[in-house]
Point group: C2
Chain length 1002, copies 2
């Protein structure tokens, strides 16, 4: 019989107490996680050691499911452990704790899945993992990097067990409610009724106004506490603010901007609490630090300081470097491999080390560099080193002056060996420095740490405590902690230390086999050793294996697997030994929207969905890390998890569908769009008016207009459905789905669904998207929220692109400036003319990016946009055409002909357009010829680039003849002006089409 | 090495888990005690079984001591256990748990000290004990009787360990801060800094207005939850209200009346929460009940149902009944003993059982009835039973009618044996019924349960679960649970069952010896057995032993013990084997006010103080239950406790004395006296004005007036000092002390100290007390808060007595009606004339009680009060005099002489006082004689009873002669009226002195 709920807690308490943890208690005010308990939040700050373990019944109002979900509740029991500093093997200790409560890693699939933890309410972040047990997240494992805005040193390891989920895995029950709390009482008997009640309270009963007021009061109390230096009381009120906010949030009462405001306020308090705590501990002289002793070790440990001289190989040898890490995130693994692929050959070249083929491989736990053969030593070489100018080095008599002596000494040569050579028109002293090639082992011992250090990640972490670092050394930074290093040249261990780890010849095996230490006799044996350990080192090999297994599995149920490259790549980066596990789920869930099903399977679970004839089957394929021992347990676990996730989605959809989509619209009044711009309902009302005007601009027919109006009316309603509140990425998708199920027109539903696509397919969809995006741009610019620098909290750059792209792709002519003007009139705040111009310019900027990204030449894009940026579609057409023209062989002559007209006008001061051609004043033949050519060619102002340039081409001979023969700048002012007027007629042809002067070669 | 803090918790968790408890977690909102956690508060309600154990870090803001007190903190760790139903031996299980954590009862003094737990905020109460470990309260042990206004069935046993105090005992450290939390970290390192911070927050920083508002919001949330049937969320908000109230309270912001209001509101929610929970569980059909099976046992268990016939003794035998209980409260033991002393002989008489001497003894754990000899059986006897009237029983022919037949059958006689006898003037049928005496064992088996049941206590409790009771039987009620019964007649066990316990011949020994079971071979061996077990059964014996030991101990330190009878009596009721333990405390505490020291030692600790030449020494004497093994540990423990208590008092006094007493006065504005009547400061201001007027009425001299004004000004200031807030009973005492230390006049200080005495010694003290009490009476009556029935929340009856008594004892003439009128003018609300009259009447009522209680005859008191109730002192004098008069031998003649005058006037209709005597119309000699007697005797209206009656006595001969000879009711109207006028002059003499017509014999 597996341990019951309370036995698991007792066992974990005992386990961690034996490992030196203070056993602490749950906090006396509601917290969303054990992290918020001051035993974590405060004690992780500062240099003092702190090891603690405690249960935390964590309260998250919006996770409430009325007791209906098998493993999602507004309250769940966490078991929280903090280890500060990092003990060096926290993952292994953690896995031991799982064994202590009866989870045998051999029988399950235990995985460390990337999780970059961030808690904006307390200005905290860290890197680590979700630990999965058969697909179920049972633990969060984080190396805290920052808390309360303070960078942690030492870093603290946080291990947060999700007790219910662990017990579900242990007991293989369908829902937490069935878990035994004691021998005779179930978890459900103790908890289920109150779960229902709290859910109802948080979702339906809590008084929004009262909670807002309470938040204010608590915030002021926190501030009063801080003003009096009361750290823990201030923190308490921060927690109370947080919980109060969570109630408001669960009630759906917090808009986007308002949320930011609340977070900002909480973050500010968190920051001040953290600071105050640090100051306090400093003033107390870090009592816990003294107690533990301040003994610091220098770099390296005893073993490495007394190093015997390295042998020098006599012949080329194979080389192996294995960087053993805790589980790397999928993307980090890729980025590390590609850096190594670039860096290693370059490094060998720099080092002048001859080598055979270089092979870079990796799994989540190891980055491997192997080199077929590596020269036993560097070749000797001579370098010519430049010294001071000759006349400063030697006097007239050739006697060495101090400059020469210094230079010679520095380079280890005699002054008499210095040579004088000419360089860059001067005479300089040179030394010929012979450099003896060093044995490869010595070179490697020196460069390998640097090689590892050179690997950079988008987000990296530190983990080494000060006691294991040199003074002022911040410690190694890496994607995840490095735990072992193998460096072998043949069978010679290349000794070095990095990140507190000494290199050696011992690797570690598969996680599910308990990561056994395995000795590698020599570099060329590595591949065998690893293969025998069951590890598929080659990523493509893992991918192929996954694809094969997944396909085979799908066939078994008569379907085909949906294998998306992104997912395949990710999954192959998550395991070292892939084994496909096919599982099923309740067919009733197939009634959920397809996107929901797929999104849950792929995004949340990294499963491959299975379909048949384009319809999903009630199966999924998971990839386990390890072999097939205990595979049934693994399957059941994964099935349970997916079932729970689908139950959750089902819960939302079912709850949501109690009313038609339309019924949600009024709820938008509770979502603040932006304080000055009102609620989402206000925005929706504006959109309704704007889309009617846009419809006219787009010349929609009557049916389209009706559909657009309805779609706009409903467009934002899904934001307040539970499903979207849960998975925001489903906005629009859910709107479409619910619209259909509410009996709306298909076109209406599609438009709703398309509004978030970069480019909606239907014209109605485009119109809706335009109304949405233009309203946002105009309103938010007017509210002073234009993007600055890298900050773009409202995604206005994306919105602008979203205006431009559909117009281009649908090739819809559209006057942005008119649309902006119309949208401006609808805003609740004034949108000044300057601001409107600014918005137009901003969109034009995005248009430019779009066009550049499409591969058009910069000058072409600039030329067109200088003339027409209000109308993206026509601008795009123009760019397309112009790009063809500039690529013509005769382009130079065309451009230069046209340019002659433009340039001569520029040299004259008179305003363009003020001149007119008077036929009677035409004197010369070429002049006349040009005049007539214009009259016969140009019948109206060209509206496209092609029209413009075809005209220009037709005129080129006449233009050239005119300029060659006729003196435009005649002495007679009248004649001169008449000739200029003629030229101007040509130059003006480009007006509104393109400013050709922006083109290269103009 | 004793267990550290977290090991104790782990051990207790393990211990109780093994005994079937659900291990629960601390609650997620601040609670003052584990009781408030729904795992207790809710789960103890209703019929379902529930056993639970958990840690509760309990928050009590006003226990904060800035981390300076060794064992008093705003947060302490409770370990809470609920056993429902009572397992039958919870004390023993509890003592086992102490052993499990390393507390050997043999080495310590573990005591169960009466504690009647009450929690008004949740309408809950229960009976039980504080468990003392060497004088330190380490556990509260309670049989819950009611929670949330709901009577519990089954009753739940609550065991609340105070973990810090237990560990202090275990580790014998000076303060909790020094306790090891783990091997390397102390309790202080984990908790002390935050203790300081919280204290500061609760006492100095918390925003009163904000907390009031938050309370309102939370209360409304609780109500909204209740309206939606959400029990736990409602309860959560009740807890939040409670904590918010506690903050307000710690800030000193809650006045007396306001407090009642807050409590009423919280109680109301608690009641509704309790009700809602019960309904909910019922609707759920009590899931935990089903699970455990509903198996019910009838009365008794297997052993008792098959009972073999009892032997009948052949000769008188000694008898013993021992009722073995859990520790009885001291007063309950006394009351039980006195009931048994009265009841047992009466019972034996009723049963016609001849017996030798009856001896009733008791200790906290046993009530013992022993009878030297008891007749082996009842004597036989004949009873004459009255039947129907003779004529209904027999017809004229003497044939028995149905009435006779029925009567005969009922009484087991033949109709022919019926006798006809006369009774009450009628003839009836009688049956002579012979009753055979029954053997004493049978009789006892029947009556002993009833005897036990007949013992009543002021507060009694139930504990038996329904499963061990007959249907509809509420179960036994007793002071504390009965756990064993010994009933022996000689060596015959008298078998019966009471309260689920079967009688037998096994008693239990001393607690410190683990209450071993001891067989009693026969009744007459009991005394020996008990003595050998070390138990002093006789209370006087215990008292004598205590006195002797205490005196001896005191002599050792050259002092004398202060042995107050009340304390001695109590202590002797708390132990079975007294052993004196002398301890000392830090001499610095001797600077605390004597009353504080004594009150702490006696009231809190039941120690005997030691003094020398009237000055306290730094010693105390405690009485241990048990022998002197481990006595040093016991001493140290007790010293620690007392030290902590003194440290606490010292803390208060030191904090308080940072400012002079005067500085506290403004703080009275925060104490509400009564909503309509304003704050205590308002009251104090009124008193200042009133006392000035009272001073005039009392004719104080100038110095007295000045002192009175100052004393009144300062009189209430001590109410807001910390020491008085902590021990309200010290009000006045602390005022006096602080006044002296603030440099006030001795007279001023004394008056402040005397204001709460029933009768102040100084005249200034009297004036102050009068001002206080009259203001309260007048104000609260006007506010509609006059006492009704048994309700007198403001103690107005006591206040009225407090007005009357000083006036009487100091014999101060004082016009109450004038004082009331003056006080009325000072009130912030109107005091109508009717209300003033009502107040006067109310005080007169108390005056009457006082005089009656003083032993004066009721009629005497009534006679005086009918004439003068406004002036208690003179009324008392009058009563005193009158009482002497009515006891005179010639009183009847005096009274009847006077009465003749009064009575004859009553028979005449004319208004009294409208007549006048005209000398010229006097005719008869006796008439003339009386007229002259009056003129020579009465020179002014008598003002005292003596004056009145001496006058009357002087007139009696003339009066009698007058009435004997003169026809008062003459035919001539003028003569008649003149004679009546003469009589009236005599009758009127008593006006304003006494209404003699109220006297017996008038």
């Amino acid at each position: 019989m597996p341990l019951n709920f309370q036995q698991v807690i007792l066992t974990l308490q005992q386990f961690w107490a034996e490992r030196g943890c203070v056993l602490w208690q749950p906090y006396y005010t509601q917290v969303g996680a054990g992290t918020m308990n001051p035993a974590t939040f405060l004690r992780v700050l500062g240099p003092e050691p702190w090891n603690v373990a405690y249960v935390e019944p964590s309260i998250r109002p919006d996770d409430g499911r009325y007791g209906e979900n098998p493993n999602r509740f507004q309250q769940h029991y966490q078991f929280q452990v903090i280890l500060k500093p990092d003990p060096g093997n926290p993952q292994e200790i953690y896995l031991d704790s799982l064994k202590a409560i009866g989870i045998d890693p051999r029988q399950h699939d235990i995985r460390f899945v990337e999780d970059n933890w961030e808690q904006p309410a307390i200005s905290a972040w860290g890197l680590g993992w979700e630990v999965w047990l058969d697909g179920q997240e049972i633990t969060q494992f984080t190396y805290f990097q920052q808390v309360g805005g303070v960078t942690l040193d030492p870093v603290a390891v946080e291990i947060t067990y999700g007790l219910e989920r662990i017990l579900i895995g242990l007991h293989n029950v369908k829902a937490a409610w069935e878990l035994p709390w004691t021998e005779t009482i179930t978890y459900g008997e103790v908890r289920r009724q109150e779960e229902f009640e709290h859910s109802k309270y948080y979702y339906e009963v809590g008084d929004v106004q009262a909670m807002r007021e309470v938040f204010e009061r608590f915030e002021r109390e926190a501030e009063a506490c801080l003003a009096n230096g009361l750290v823990v009381p201030a923190h308490d009120y921060l927690l109370k603010c947080n919980h109060t906010f969570n109630i408001l949030d669960a009630r759906g009462a917090v808009g986007v901007t308002e949320r930011q405001g609340y977070f900002r306020r909480m973050r500010e308090i968190a920051r001040r609490v953290g600071e105050a705590y640090l100051e306090q501990r400093k003033a107390l002289e870090y009592p816990l630090l003294k107690e533990q002793g301040t003994e610091k070790k220098g770099i390296g440990n005893g073993a490495s300081t007394a190093r015997s001289p390295l042998p020098t190989p006599s012949a080329p040898l194979p080389f192996l470097l294995e960087i053993g890490t805790e589980e790397l995130p999928a993307a980090d693994m890729d980025t590390a491999l590609s850096q190594l692929r670039e860096r290693v050959p370059a490094l060998l070249k720099e080092l002048s080390l001859e080598h055979g083929s270089v092979n870079i491989e990796g799994t989540p736990r190891r980055l491997v560099v192997s080199i077929d053969t590596l020269s036993p030593r560097q070749p000797d070489r001579e370098d010519l080193v430049k010294g001071p100018p000759a006349d400063k080095a030697f006097d007239k008599d050739g006697i060495a002056l101090p400059a020469a002596m210094g230079f010679a000494k520095k380079n280890g040569v005699k002054t008499t060996d210095l040579q004088v050579r000419e360089q860059d028109g001067g005479k300089y002293v040179f030394a010929v420095v012979s450099q003896k090639g060093r044995p490869t082992p010595d070179v490697l011992a020196e460069v390998l740490p640097k090689l590892i250090e050179s690997i950079k990640f988008e987000k990296s972490m530190r983990w080494l405590p000060a006691s294991r670092r040199a003074e002022n050394d911040p410690g190694a930074a890496f994607s995840r902690p490095i735990r072992w290093l193998v460096a072998l040249l043949g069978d010679i261990v290349i000794p070095f230390e990095y990140a507190g780890v000494l290199s050696g010849n011992t690797t570690r095996g598969l996680r599910p086999y308990d990561s056994p230490e395995i000795m590698i006799p020599s570099a060329n044996k590595y591949e065998n050793v690893i293969r025998e350990a069951g590890i598929l080192l080659n990523k493509e090999g893992r991918k192929a294996s996954i694809v094969e297994q997944v396909n085979q599995s799908a066939v078994l149920v008569g379907g085909e697997a949906l294998i998306e490259e992104g997912l395949l790549n990710e999954v192959s980066n998550l395991i070292e030994m892939p084994t496909a596990v096919m599982g099923g789920f309740d067919r009733e869930y197939l009634s959920l929207p397809r996107e929901v099903l797929i999104s849950v399977m792929k995004k949340h679970q990294r499963y491959f969905p299975v379909q048949k004839n384009g319809k999903l089957l009630s199966h999924f394929i998971a990839i386990r890390n390890g072999d097939d021992i205990g595979i049934d347990l693994v399957r059941q676990g994964n099935e349970h998890v997916l079932g729970a996730r689908f139950a959750d989605a089902n819960f939302f959809v079912r709850e949501d569908l109690r009313q038609p989509l339309e019924a949600y619209r009024p709820g938008l009044s509770k979502l603040i769009f932006q304080t000055k711009l009102g609620s989402m309902l206000d925005k929706s009302e504006r959109m309704l008016k704007l889309s009617a005007q846009i419809a006219k601009m787009l010349e929609l027919d009557e049916v389209q207009l009706l559909n657009l109006q309805r779609a706009t009316y409903l467009s934002k309603a899904d934001l307040v459905t539970q499903m979207v509140m849960e998975m925001t990425s489903l906005q629009g998708i859910i709107g479409r789905e619910y619209a259909l199920r509410s009996g709306e027109q298909k076109e209406v539903a599609e438009a709703i669904g398309e509004q978030f696509l970069p480019v909606p397919t239907s014209k109605v969809g485009v119109a809706l998207a335009l109304a949405d995006r233009i309203d946002s741009l105009v309103g938010l610019f007017a509210a002073g929220l234009a993007p600055t620098g890298t900050k773009d909290p409202f995604g206005l750059r994306r919105a602008a692109i979203g205006v431009v792209q559909p117009l281009i792709e649908h090739n819809i002519s559209f006057d942005l400036s008119e649309a902006i003007q119309k949208a401006a009139k609808l805003q609740p705040i004034e949108v000044k003319v300057e601001v409107q111009a600014q918005i137009l310019e901003f969109i034009a900027g995005r248009l430019k990016v779009v066009l550049n990204d499409a591969g058009y030449k910069h000058d072409v894009v600039e030329a067109v946009l200088a003339a027409q940026s209000k109308n993206p579609a026509s601008a795009a057409q123009a760019v397309k055409q112009l790009q063809v023209w500039v690529e013509r062989e005769d382009w130079n002559s065309i451009l230069s002909g046209f340019a002659r007209c433009v340039r001569i006008l520029r040299s004259q001061s008179k305003d363009p357009g003020s001149r007119t051609v008077t036929e009677s004043q035409i004197i010369e033949a070429e002049e006349k010829n040009l005049y007539e050519a214009i009259r016969s060619t140009v019948h109206r102002a060209p509206s496209t680039v092609d029209e413009l340039l075809n005209t220009v081409v037709a005129l080129i001979p006449s233009i050239n003849a005119f300029f060659d023969k006729v003196l435009v700048i005649a002495e007679d002012e009248t004649i001169k002006q008449n000739r200029l007027a003629l030229v101007e007629e040509i130059a003006n042809l480009s007006t509104g089409v393109a400013d050709l002067s922006k083109l290269e070669g103009f």
